[in-house]
């Protein structure tokens, strides 16, 4: 985050597979929550894909629908209020939304692992670390007793927890937040899944621990060949780990593309606003940090047309018309009618 580390980004990046090479492909996903008898779209026509072994970021502010997108992939949207109203979630071409519940349980934890935001509360306070690590092993690999114990020790060791054999008997409250998140990563990767969904994995941690956890997650995912969906509101961490970025706003993806391109030349005014509001070393210190005016709309009362329009400095009459994500160059999509007219981005407003 402080110094961009180029080696992580380029040489070791996976070969550019075609779109058919995607392990996970989300198409036209729409997830709604019932509010006072009305279905409100929280995730609206979301499309993105992840290729084998690749790290893809899903960026947006609180309430933009990032977490609900991840929960929809897992089919864990809290029912009965929330439900997936449409779209496809293709895992190796198979639509997860059409699977029955037992088949879906076989996918969760085995093919798709998940890490959550709050490590301290994502572990059950009354079970030991060992028991919780053993849960996935028991469910998917049928490991019990000594075999499960040995595998658990290996797993704890692989996420850099000292004295793993002793830690098996520890309770979550005896570990720090960073340690708990390491345990969560060990659990999520215990069955060597093909995809890891990391929902704000470092938001609840302090800055020094954040870097360690992200390094660890990246290293483990690479070692296992696991593709990662990194969900975050922090553009700083995206630059270093993700090869492609999806920017979400008000339940829609407003821009997607290669991380480098998107950073150098954001085409959606919202992405621009986000990038401008990140403090940078190469700008005058006394200059005021630009902020995006206003607040994000609530899912129940989206403005007509472009959802970002009321806060957009480039707003025009035409923005009241419906906007669709359109391809402006290969792999690069943006949902702004004026994307081509905007002046080149110079990093400073």
């Amino acid at each position: 985050m402080v110094q961009p580390q180029t080696k992580v980004m380029d040489e070791t990046a996976p070969p550019q597979a075609s779109r058919e090479g995607a392990v996970l492909e989300v198409k036209g996903l729409r997830t709604v929550f019932r509010q006072r008898g009305v279905d409100v779209s929280v995730v609206n026509d979301v499309n993105f894909d992840i290729r084998a072994g690749e790290t893809v970021a899903l960026v947006g502010e609180s309430g933009s629908g990032k977490s609900v997108s991840a929960l929809s992939v897992m089919r864990l949207v809290p029912s009965p209020k929330g439900r997936i109203a449409g779209g496809q979630v293709l895992l190796d071409g198979e639509d997860l939304l059409r699977l029955d519940e037992p088949a879906m349980r076989g996918i969760r934890g085995k093919t798709i692992g998940m890490v959550f935001q709050e490590p301290m509360t994502s572990l059950n306070p009354i079970h030991t670390i060992g028991r919780q690590l053993g849960e996935g092993l028991r469910i998917h690999l049928g490991l019990t007793g000594k075999a499960a114990r040995e595998r658990s020790i290996e797993l704890l060791d692989s996420v850099g927890i000292p004295r793993p054999a002793e830690r098996l008997h520890a309770y979550p409250h005896q570990l720090s937040g960073g340690m708990c998140q390491r345990v969560m990563i060990a659990i999520a990767l215990s069955c060597e899944p093909r995809i890891l969904l990391a929902d704000e994995p470092t938001t609840a941690l302090d800055v020094t621990t954040q870097a360690q956890i992200l390094e660890l997650m990246d290293a483990r995912a690479r070692a296992l060949g696991t593709a990662t969906l990194l969900i975050t509101h922090d553009l700083g961490i995206v630059a270093r780990y993700a090869s492609r970025v999806n920017v979400m706003y008000a339940g829609r993806i407003v821009e997607q593309g290669e991380a480098r391109q998107l950073y150098d030349n954001p085409r959606h005014p919202y992405t621009r606003g986000l990038l401008e509001s990140v403090p940078r070393l190469d700008r005058p210190r006394r200059q005021e940090l630009p902020a995006i005016e206003g607040l994000p709309p609530s899912p129940g009362s989206l403005p007509q047309g472009c959802p970002f329009q009321p806060r957009c400095p480039f707003r025009q009459e035409i923005c009241g018309q419906p906007q669709a994500l359109r391809e402006i160059s290969p792999g690069r999509r943006v949902a702004c009618i004026r994307a081509d007219e905007l002046s080149p981005f110079d990093g400073a407003a």
Partner: protein, 291 residues
């Protein structure tokens, strides 16, 4: 090392002193349970033997310098101490069996209801509402009348009338826990509903349920007494603390000991159970265990 040197840990009082209440409670319950088991050999008199000549004798009455009726006699001349020893059997069985039965039934229904939500929750909770809308005593009398007197029927009826309390509490806990992050994390790991209910929700929902159960034991003892008093519980030939309390009430002004001693037995049992259940709760909670 320095911290230890500067501030020596406060001296802990001896184990016996710290756990005095637990020891006393445990001792009392042990005595109560033993006297229930060994009642036949412990009683100084046949508890049902009436002797009109020695009725309403105060506690500590002695014959020929020999202590006779330690806790006095009732209006029919029956020995109160023997009655309490014999009555402990019924009271303890009713108290524990109904709480365990109602607790298991109510908790199972409650956590399924709270975790499943939706239509099942609606159906089960309306059932609970309907049952709670009935006055307890009316429902119990009606059922006892249909089923007939007897210990098993008393337990059955008390289970049927009190499970909704556990269902309510368990449902509230399950609702709270079903949205907790670790339940979502367990589901994301592929855990099925039975595993989530039994390993993640039930153990975390236990604390309030144990408190409710501990407070219900004495209540069940009293309910049994009430049913017996109304003539639909146990036949009057059966002795329980409840029946003794009920009969002694009429003589409270002349012979306070008839109702007082069974009352004290009930109070001590309640207190002991509460003290021990608090200790149990602390031991179940890993956050408190290591303190």
């Amino acid at each position: 090392m320095t911290a230890a040197d500067l501030e020596p840990a406060p001296r802990q009082s001896p184990w016996v002193v710290r756990h005095l209440a637990h020891l006393l409670a445990g001792a009392f319950l042990t005595v109560a349970i033993l006297s229930a088991l060994l009642a036949r050999w412990l009683v100084p008199y046949d508890p049902l033997m009436t002797d009109v000549l020695s009725n309403l004798l105060p506690p500590g009455t002695s014959f020929d310098g020999q202590p006779a009726y330690v806790l006095g006699t009732d209006m029919l001349g029956r020995d109160v101490l023997s009655g309490i020893i014999y009555g402990s059997r019924i009271s303890l069985i009713v108290g524990f069996a109904t709480v365990v039965g109602a607790g298991v039934v109510g908790t199972a229904i409650g956590i399924i209801s709270g975790y499943h939500k939706g239509w099942l929750d609606e159906v089960l909770m309306r059932l609970v509402d309907i049952q709670l809308a009935f006055p307890f005593i009316l429902l119990a009398i009606l059922m006892m009348y249909v089923l007939g007197q007897g210990l098993f029927n008393v337990i059955l009826v008390l289970i049927i009338t009190t499970w909704p309390i556990y269902a309510r509490v368990a449902r509230a806990e399950a609702l709270r826990l079903s949205t907790s992050e670790y339940v979502t994390a367990a589901r994301a790991l592929g855990a099925g509903t039975p595993r989530i209910l039994l390993r993640h929700i039930l153990p975390n929902a236990m604390t309030p349920l144990i408190v409710v159960a501990a407070f219900s034991v004495p209540q069940m003892i009293i309910y049994e007494a009430a049913l017996s008093f109304l003539g639909v519980g146990l036949p009057s030939s059966e002795l329980s603390w409840g029946t003794m309390l009920a009969t002694g009430r009429d003589y409270l002004t002349q012979a306070w000991w008839i109702a007082t001693f069974p009352g004290i037995a009930i109070v001590c049992t309640i207190l002991s159970i509460n003290v021990l259940s608090e200790a149990l709760r602390q031991n179940l909670d890993p956050n408190l265990r290591n303190q």
